[in-house]
Symmetry: C2
Subunit: 251 residues, 2 copies
DNA sequence: CAAGCATTCTCATTGAATGATAAAAGTGCC
DNA sequence: GGCACTTTTATCATTCAATGAGAATGCTTG
């Protein structure tokens, strides 16, 4: 029989199980997990065992299930993310030291921005929790930068999938394309109050081959903070440094 | 029919595929992947498709397969790792600023140390590549600290599985237990030339409930570096800070 | 101890996954 | 162009690993 619902492979079920965990519900009983992941109880127990064998899941003494380090370890092999992270880290530290604010590195994943690294000073304005793992492209400076510096066909595809995408501060329901063009022209994006009312996000692209963004480097500062332009040099320098470092590791 | 070899579930096969990638071979053709993961070619194509649907794998224009960000994203939900990482980061930065050397945070996974965070100064002595994602417990200061500050039954279980475990510098094929006891007594581990001939690793435990190590905080310095004791205060302070920060996030 | 979960077992059923094979679509080389 | 090669998609009969319902056994908790 295998499955009840159509359109889910065994992998889908496994992902649903792993995906049932998040920051709010980091651990749960197998019973709850079965419901959240929508799999029969008996099956849930079997799958949990399998996943636990690879330390994707872990069971504590009280029987609750939580994520293990198996995923983390596999993810660490992802050289693209790892290389980028490691190459970027020193530069991010520099930037953080200079601007003293939340600094982050994001990449494009599907139609969202996945932040693969963040440095948050103890006194940064941004609320940690609100800077989630993923955010919609048109809701962050980093996302807009990533899109603006993507190949034309990627942009078009995105616009097709998100016809209603707009940038709040911009020309009403204005032309999203024009926003992207301007960002590409000026080489950075700076937007107020997107993620949070009181913050401004500033992001620049980390450019790879063909003037395409392989990542976005951004900071989040208080809205009333000094001119955006005062942050740009550090960001630009950092982005260039990262791009060079990544290039070297590949060559 | 499902599978040929006994003792591998579908999950095992998926893990073998994902595990076929590492820093040395970050991308490969499906054909090569099939060989490395030991699955029939036709099956490999199917599994790759499935994994790509979740962005666990990604295919570039030339057809080569590489790891995607899906794993990374799932791993980020692992609140234990994430909480620890985020709580630790500011303290690690402090330490790195003071000692100016490679700083790392490790946790116990199976019988190895998994480093979930590292800060490597541009001028640190250690060779990045040699500080891999995982290392045997008795081959790193961090590992020894983690073991020394584990519950007695965990230690015993480890000793049973690794009867031949010794620490090079120590009393010949001396009593491993005694080494652990001393580490626990003095509150830190400092070992020369374990990972690398010319380096010394120093690690202290990040203590959780019940004086048990939830992580190890360590630095790697040049062997001839100034006295170990000059690094300890910073490490100890950092470890205490992390422990407190982690505790707060849970309460 | 009764009620409620959590957990393990059994087991008949079956269709999802498998993998051999073949064909089609590149890719490069002479 | 033709040849050798690899990559990729497609077909399809086979089958056993995985499934899920249910019963039985533990384990708390009030």
């Amino acid at each position: 029989m295998a499955n009840s619902k159509s359109g889910d492979s065994s992998l889908d079920r496994l992902v649903r199980i792993l995906g049932a965990f998040d920051a709010d519900v980091p651990s749960m009983s197998v019973g709850v997990l079965a419901v959240r992941a929508d799999v029969p109880l008996a099956t849930a127990y079997r799958l949990v065992d399998q996943l636990a064998a690879h330390d994707f899941l872990r069971r504590d003494s009280s029987g609750a299930v939580r994520l293990g380090y198996g995923l983390w370890e596999l993810a660490s092999r992802s050289s693209s993310a790892l290389t980028l992270r490691e190459a970027a880290m020193p530069f991010m530290e520099d930037i953080q030291a200079v601007v003293g604010q939340h600094t982050q590195l994001g990449v494009l994943q599907d139609d969202e921005v996945l932040f693969i690294e963040r440095l948050s000073g103890r006194d940064s304005v941004v609320n940690q929790a609100r800077v989630a793992g993923r955010l919609p492209v048109h809701r962050t400076s980093s996302g807009l930068v990533l899109l603006a510096f993507s190949p034309a066909h990627v942009q078009e595809a995105y616009l097709l999938r998100h016809p209603a995408a707009t940038v709040p501060g911009d020309a009403g329901a204005g032309d999203f394309r024009r926003v992207l063009a301007r960002i590409r022209a000026q080489g950075y994006a700076a937007l107020e109050g997107l993620v949070d009312e009181d913050t401004t996000g500033i992001a620049v692209p980390v450019l790879g081959p063909g003037r395409t963004a392989i990542a976005a480097l951004g900071v989040v500062v208080a809205r009333q903070a000094v001119s955006v332009h005062s942050f740009l040099p550090a960001l630009m320098t950092g982005a260039r440094g990262i791009a060079r470092a990544v290039g070297e590791r590949r060559g």
